[in-house]
Symmetry: C2
Subunit: 620 residues, 2 copies
């Protein structure tokens, strides 16, 4: 039923543990496993930056199977940015390779005295001295680690950059150029002095019923090929997630200058179409995940700016927003370079751009001066200053680097002077690229998401503003009634999907439940109904919810809030002009639908229904 | 007797040609083959940046054999910087891989309409569309090309960067992070629109007499292990070529601020010992060529500066000089970053640093202003300006980029105002890192070298100033008599060695002739005596000399000169205080020893003696 690699960096020990079939059935993989193991194993209230915290890198049962979007892998830990739960997902070749080596997950515990990396070559697993790689940017570390450990296959590498090493709280992990681990998982690995995981595998990923699997797989591929979004020449393959930029801007929801408005006047210069026609060479300069039929990822190589010639995947929608409109920058090459630098230093580009945007607003309002910016003229639209700020944050250097490395919430606490009102985060995690004043579903999703400000738990925006659902209640943007319930249901579906090891973008062409359950059942031998599958998501979501209660003594409804700006400052223009988010009724309904009490705590009944007695014991 | 891959980019044709055994015996490989084929094949007086020019990438018979330093490979062409001959050598894994694929050389001719790259997988050879890689820096292009084409082995990549693409005249080629092709070979490939050569091979490199070869190999390895320079913990493994910095500075020969003096006051901050104890982690952060027992190359990762975290091999002696002392910069991290950027953009770091140094002197003397420097305060010692200048030159952007991309000679012609007097080049190629006023042997070597200012044809400095020869005439620095003869003899030895495919640094532990001939004979089945082998060098040198006569109508002695500064401006301080280079008598003696006439033209008699009738026909 799968194998976990348990790596204790303090004891320098490596163990292989089988996964309990009951756990496998209840939690499936990826998000589910991370929730189960980390909830059980991380002692209450330990600091996130401590040897007691644990990091889990975990694939799903469909990762590496050849299912569409089978490249997804999860990384999770207690977040040093929020103090609570965080799990993130990345594509690329790392996750499948971990499976090829015979592992479903790695649990990293303890802390090394000196920098190390984990080398996995099928059954051979060892910790190696990382002295020579410490201090390196991710691209260089990946390049040199690959070169060092090439056998008959190219090894796949997950690593942290200088930001993680320096425990920058918005540091992530980079796996084969893909980013994951919002909330500072990179900092946790940096604290633990684990520079990288290098993996090469040769095994076949087990499939319980190959015939049924191939049938389900064929069906999914066919649907994906037919969808106008995911099929050849569809919006996703041609423009990636950036295909929605014009739509988001038209809905008045595109974060601009630290969410001061939802409309960016230079949208035509940095929308998906503009990137497609320039840097992405008509949409053909691609860098897809292995085996993906959609191929949404492109490669950008800026021709101007501070470092022409750097090549990185992206920029995706979120990053164009936070390295572009939200900092007021409309230069594609600057955005692509900023993306490269975020990945090079191992910085979460959403949080990095958002923190810079916050600091820009502070600077423009006179709350900080060139003393705090190390002399940079940190105005909105100053692309050169943005680039400098990223490098400073990525290396925690100078006053600006120190300040930015804290993320928005802590920086606003240091700056004070009312800056908290436009510190755009939920629970400490910077809010992603949809202004919830223009789509109330995103408001309750942000307030409730299990890792803080997240755009994917669930993503209601497509339904609310982009025509991906009927224009009727509760799917219309400003509707309140019914919305909390809908968002809760969608949350469980996404959480279930995130246990599978498939990429969420597949759901633009196939159904997240009906088309996935056959794949999952065939691969695992389970006999899930659709309802069983969604229940897995609800179960995982309740565990991650309980994680917060376990770790934060006064956790409850007051944490499920939104930035002051979204609640009290009416949107100044566009279709959402005059709107703020009416959070309380949305949240009431969500809690009720979830079976949580008025303080947002899962009831004993709900937890018992989900078979989570170990959670009841811990939080009651 | 070996195979040449002939790639016609205009015709899109690829042919495999056997090498004539007679040619193999007379020219051996690497330098010899380049000299033979390019002399014969490049029509007289064609522009270097034209489809008629050809580039040759050529290994030696010992490349890839497992002989010590067997990683060497040559790249040669008609130089767009000098208008004459250029051949350069690089180590790393590319050369051996070319041999493993079954090829001794590639001749690249014609020019592609659109960017292409050459993919070699053993017998399968094809030209591929390089659109997606065009514009990329070398590290990114290498990383992505490797990822695209790995099979059961990691492919090895030679490529050009943005500088080559833009036909920057000081652009080189980067092969597996190693640099070669001074004199603008990168620009020639850029003109031809060949972005890269990607090679994977699985064949055994032929050895005529395996038993004798192993014996000679063992002998060479043993000697290298015993030498204080090349043995474990020797100066080369611990500090690379930078081990000599203190010695060169003590001899008053270390180029400082565009050769205004030979002593740098900050030598202790950027000498080999300083790099060893910091960036090179006690000398242990290494990145050797495959199979090399000496392992002179280190890896540097700057912790400060404009882009902390970049990882590149080096900086070597030459680059510390031209990115450090010669531009007045004493910051190790800036130097390491500058090195990274030169390699990233595919710029010859010697010429780039030297050109910047020249422009700095122009700026300080008021011959150019911020108009020409795009606003940069281009003073000696301004590391930030140095970094900016490299990026501008590497992308030929701005006025400074346009000016710098021409190299020193042409820039001085544009600037005028007497700047020609301190334009430090020979025949257009920037002079490397030994001030010849402090070692006259280097003076005649520079004046006569077959590619313009070169420190390796031959390198007399070790004998003259570093105690590598008895302190007696003609080896002492300021001796004139006997020196021209000595330098000529040494030139032939080095030229012979450069036909072998071995790395010149091996000669710090083994004899360049006595220990190489047994390896060469065993590998090839030749029966060279030592004299035969040296004759091969003399032959190749006469062909490359004749190349200039073939291509430049008025070529002759007047080209064999030195920068005005070395001839007329006495060294202001240090052991060489008051000295200038007495070039004429040195050159007279050299010509006489070489069997050349008073104008430096190889006589018919000499050419006939060397069996070079085809040369006589061409230049007489």
């Amino acid at each position: 039923m799968g194998t976990i690699l348990r790596v204790d960096l303090s004891a320098k020990s490596i163990k292989k543990e089988p996964i309990d079939p009951e756990v496998a059935k209840n939690f499936v993989g990826a998000k589910g496993f991370a929730a189960y193991y980390l909830f059980k194993e991380i002692p209450p209230k330990v600091p996130a930056l401590s040897a007691e915290n644990k990091v889990m890198i975990v694939a799903g049962p469909l990762t590496g199977t050849g299912a569409p979007g089978h490249a997804r892998c999860c990384v999770a830990a207690k977040s040093p940015l929020t103090g609570g739960w965080t799990d993130g997902y990345f594509g690329g070749a790392f996750g499948p390779e971990l499976k090829y080596a015979g592992y479903d997950a790695i649990i990293i515990e303890g802390a090394a005295e000196k920098p190390v990396y984990l080398l996995i070559e099928d059954d051979k697993v060892e910790l190696k001295d990382a002295k020579e790689f410490w201090g390196m940017g991710t691209f260089d570390a990946m390049r040199l680690l690959k070169e060092k450990h090439f056998t008959d296959k190219e090894p796949k590498v997950l690593c942290i950059g200088p930001a993680g090493e320096k425990q920058v709280l918005i540091a992530n992990v980079i796996a084969e150029s893909r980013a994951g681990g919002r909330g500072g998982v990179g900092a946790v690995l940096g604290f633990k002095k684990l520079k990288a995981v290098v993996v090469t595998g040769h095994k076949e990923v087990p499939i319980a019923d190959r015939e049924k699997f191939e049938e389900a797989r064929r069906n999914a591929f066919q649907k994906l090929a037919k969808s106008p979004l995911t099929g050849p020449k569809g919006a996703l393959p041609m423009m990636g997630t950036a295909n929605i930029i014009k739509g988001v801007n038209a809905a008045g929801a595109w974060p601009t200058r630290n969410f001061q408005t939802g409309v960016f006047e230079h949208v035509d210069e940095i929308c998906g179409e503009a990137f497609r026609d320039t840097l992405w060479q008509g949409g053909e300069r691609r860098k897809p995940c292995p085996g993906c039929p959609v191929m949404c990822t492109h490669l950008a190589v800026p021709e101007t700016g501070p470092m022409p010639g750097v090549a990185d995947e992206g920029p995706e929608y979120e990053n164009i927003t936070f390295l572009g409109s939200d900092v007021g920058v409309a230069d594609r090459d600057i955005i692509a370079t900023a993306e490269y630098l975020c990945d090079f230093y191992g910085l979460d580009a959403i949080s990095t751009g958002a923190t810079i945007a916050f600091l820009m607003e502070c600077y423009e309002k006179g709350l900080i001066s060139k003393t705090e910016t190390d002399g940079l003229d940190l105005k909105f639209g100053n692309g050169e200053a943005e680039i400098e700020a990223i490098i400073k944050i990525g290396t925690k250097s100078g006053k600006l680097g120190e300040l930015g490395a804290m993320g928005t919430k802590r920086a606003s606490e240091v700056i004070g002077k009312g800056s908290e009102k436009f510190a755009i985060h939920v629970k400490g995690l910077e809010v992603p690229a949809y202004d919830p004043r223009a789509a109330f579903g995103m408001g309750v999703a942000y307030a409730r998401s299990d890792r803080g400000g997240c755009h994917l738990r669930p993503w209601t925006f497509g339904a609310e503003c982009l025509g991906l659902a009927p224009a009727e209640e509760p799917y219309v943007p400003f509707c309140v009634e019914g919305k909390g319930t809908w968002v809760k249901q969608m949350n469980d579906v996404v959480a279930a999907f995130d246990c599978s090891g498939m990429c969420l973008f597949m759901t633009f062409g196939i159904d997240a439940v009906e088309d996935v359950v056959p794949l999952l059942n065939a691969a695992t031998g389970f006999n899930f109904t659709s309802a069983d599958f969604v229940k897995v998501g609800e179960r995982a979501s309740n565990v991650t919810r309980a994680f917060w209660f376990k770790h934060i003594p006064d956790f409850g409804r007051k944490y499920d809030t939104l930035p002051w700006r979204f609640l009290h400052e009416p949107m100044p223009e566009g279709p959402a002009k005059g709107k703020t988010v009416p959070l309380e009724p949305l949240l009431n309904e969500y809690y009720a639908a979830a079976g949580w009490d008025a303080d947002g705590k899962p009831t004993k009944e709900k937890l018992a229904e989900l078979g989570l007695d170990f959670v009841i014991k811990e939080i009651y």
